[in-house]
């Protein structure tokens, strides 16, 4: 399963993400960028439920480590960011966020986590074709995402979670 993209019915496109299985390499890729932004989807809670862990906190760690901004449209995530006192986030609807990502050139890396598979698949595909000159994309989902520039592999969720935590450590150092 590991280097395959997720859904069977979603054939990878001519331009396919590079699957990165090594979190060190992944960390390296992220650090190469000057201005990353992390998009948190409103289905993060599903993953949290399965691994019984606070993934929002993990992402905040990542954001702090690489000075990334966060953006989300999930009320749950917003509440928790507030309660953690994290400031560098915006409430943004994903569709408008990607529109701006393509237009404004404010960021050079967009990191996705916690979205519905298809929804992210298509947001990434917009960015792949229409914003590729200035923006790379990275999927931190437990599902390999072919339309990103880089993606974590499709993995059993506990394994994915371990990788995510390991990535946080890599980025902190």
């Amino acid at each position: 399963m590991s280097v395959e993209y997720w859904l069977r019915g979603e054939i990878p496109q001519p331009l396919k993400a590079t699957v990165i299985t090594d979190v060190k390499v992944l960390g390296g890729r992220i650090k190469q960028h000057k201005k990353p932004v992390i998009l948190l989807g409103s289905e993060l809670y599903r993953l949290e439920r399965i691994v019984s862990s606070d993934i929002v906190a993990t992402i905040v760690d990542i954001a702090n480590a690489v000075k990334a901004d966060l953006t989300t449209s999930s009320s749950d995530v917003v509440q928790r960011l507030d309660s953690m006192g994290f400031k560098r986030y915006r409430v943004g609807f994903p569709m408008s966020v990607v529109q701006k990502l393509a237009r404004d050139r404010e960021y050079d890396l967009a990191i996705f986590i916690g979205f519905q598979y298809h929804y992210e698949w298509l947001l990434l595909n917009y960015l792949k074709h229409y914003a590729y000159r200035h923006l790379n994309t990275l999927s931190l989902e437990p599902y390999g995402h072919p339309n990103a520039t880089w993606t974590m592999p499709s993995l059993p969720i506990p394994l994915w979670h371990k990788n995510l935590l390991a990535l946080t450590e890599v980025l902190k150092t």
């Binding site: 019915g9 001519p14 331009l15 599903r46 298809h118």
Partner: protein
Amino acid sequence: MSIPYSKFKMRIDELKTPLSEIRGLDLSIGYVVEEWEEPQGPTPFPSIATLRKWDHVLLNRYRPLYLPFCDLCCLCTYGKCDLSREKRGSCGLGLSDQQSRLVALVCSIGASTHVSHARELFEKLVERFSRDHPIDLGSQVRVEMPITRLVTGVKPRTLGDLEIVLDYVERQIVQTLASVHTGQEGSWIDYESKVFHLGMLDHVALEVADALQVAALDFPKADPESPLVSLGLGVVEVSKPVILVIGHNVIPAGAIVDYLERMGIRDEVEVCGLCCTAHDITRYEKKRAKIVGPMSWQLKFIRTGVPDVIVIDEQCIYTNVVEEARRIGAVVIATTDKACHGLPERSSESPEEVVEELLSGRIPGALILDHDKAAEVAVKTALKLAPTRLKLKAQLPLEDVVEYAKKCTKCRECERACPQNLPISHAMDRASRGDLVGLTDIYEKCFACNRCEYVCPRQIPVLNVILKAAGEKRSSEVFKIRVGRGPIQDTEIRAVGRDIVLGAIPGVVAFVGCANWREGAVDVPIMAREFAFRRYIVVASGCSAMAIAMYKNDEGKTPYEEFTGEFTPGGVVNVGSCVANSHIAGAVIKIANIFARLPLRANYMEVADYILNRIGAVGIAWGAMSQKAAAIASGFWRLGVPVIVGPHGIKYRRMLLGDGERDEAWFLYDAKTGDKVYGGPVPEHLFYAAESRGEAMIMAAKLCIRPADTPQGRAIKLTNYISLYKKFYGYDKLPQDLHLLIRTESDIPITYKDEVVRFLREVNWRERPSISDPTLLEEVVRKRLKVMK
């Protein structure tokens, strides 16, 4: 194209000419010059390019954001072509062009489906009721068929009058479909314009279809108090023979009910429906027929084993239905040439013979194009088959669920096949330990597509396991739905028109479309109730109208029992099946016509411009799935009504997004002065796929905002926008685009005055004048200035 004004009515009993001989013919050649008091408008029977200018105005503001569902094109043998990034196909087409081309193709399928349905109704109903049968849609409806009037300039009075309208729609669809051919249209903006054209044509077809059935079959006629009927998997009396009707064309289902009545055995047979035929059979019979549920309930119901005979007509039929029926020992009767399902035709055989053939199992079903005969065969077969099938009406035993769950290796192949990406392996894991909650959760979101079953390497019948684990509870549930009422009354329009245009009623929110819901049916009633409580006017149709019924409040009441069926603030109005969507568009048009006295006849651009700038209406097609849904949405866009879809709707290949920060996009004319002035990013988008319910509700409130809002109106709309935003994101939060939506101080909602003022100060907001007479059209300016002189 030429305007088909070459028709006229006459009756000839006998006429001989050197060239021909006529006997007893009804010639129908209507609409030569007719007496409609209104003079002909500028764009009767518009062809592809007639309204192109308006489309380009919209598209330059609401630019498509392309979300390619595939980076390739495979439409001709020069391909497949890789269109990624800036590449072009062998024919020269680029990726954006191709996406909009596919949307045009999809919409032409959708529009064809509706007009072909309308054409079939037309032929059957004219045959039965004559061309002269009047189009009476209720005493309170004097402006019947506003879409048809607006688009074609024809005011139909009788069924026969609808023929030239159908001719027109068919011809234009074919013309537009031709543009999809390799080597025709070459630019995304013109493909998008064609999408709008197809959408407009689709709306005309919808209106014709519903007007035909309402007028001829005596459906409720704009009745706000149409009866309540039962809905749910638990509605069916299993002890009776059960005929399940599926599809969108009520005629075969109606024939079944008629036949049962004629035989005096209506009470002995259950007739229940799925999808729009269910809506329409309840509109037809009004009491006894029952609704099983929306489209995606098909396998949920069939796999209970309950139906004895499945009668399919057209659209939204599970295409492997013959095999599914065979598995439960039921038979299928197909009734239209559009969906023959490989069944042998038995239109000319005697019903008895066919019944015998079906019972013997020699054929799994039959195609019977004569609907009376189909009805007779269905009833007779059901009566004979039901007693032999009683034991088949049981399901998988519950203990098997756990056994199957134990076989699961958690390989997750099922999840990778599931369009909902549901956590099946996790649920199986819990189920193997006897805990079925995971599977029950899945049941709510599962649309019974069966994709999981094909891929399980352990041969677990995954869908069956889900249905069994959770179905028990669900399959006993019964809800109430108000029968589709059809049009909105002129009087209702008159009562609310002013408040809608001024903004005192914050908006009209329409829940429409299919059942491809990310979170199951539950989102729709939650949203509908929220808006009804907020005194929006809530309308609904199709599968969404059914979803609204599938919810009970603390008192056990469904929204249809909780709220009024009137088109009034706080009402929850079920207009009916998919084709009744025309009444939603129609209501919006009627506001422009009845309240604002805008000429209706062939006056498309002016009315659409009016709607876009003044009428706070928005559609939410939360589970939009089909090509028809795409066509319906497109019709709303051209008319100036924004549409929000659920997350799966992102697969429609592109959104139409405004950009609040692109100032120049939001300038419009003040018709009073002719000046170009800033009107603000309202409505901000035309087509928008929301990720979550919360986002959709906030967006819907925002998309009801219009440039022409009075200060009071704007304040009311903003109050809702802000309060929904706060509800989801916290009471310390404010939407960050308020400065774009507040024109003058008087726009500021009292309730949030202090914090809004503080925010405005922070972002250096400055007043901009509000415009009372905004328009995007030079023509309107010219017209108004002329009037004023």
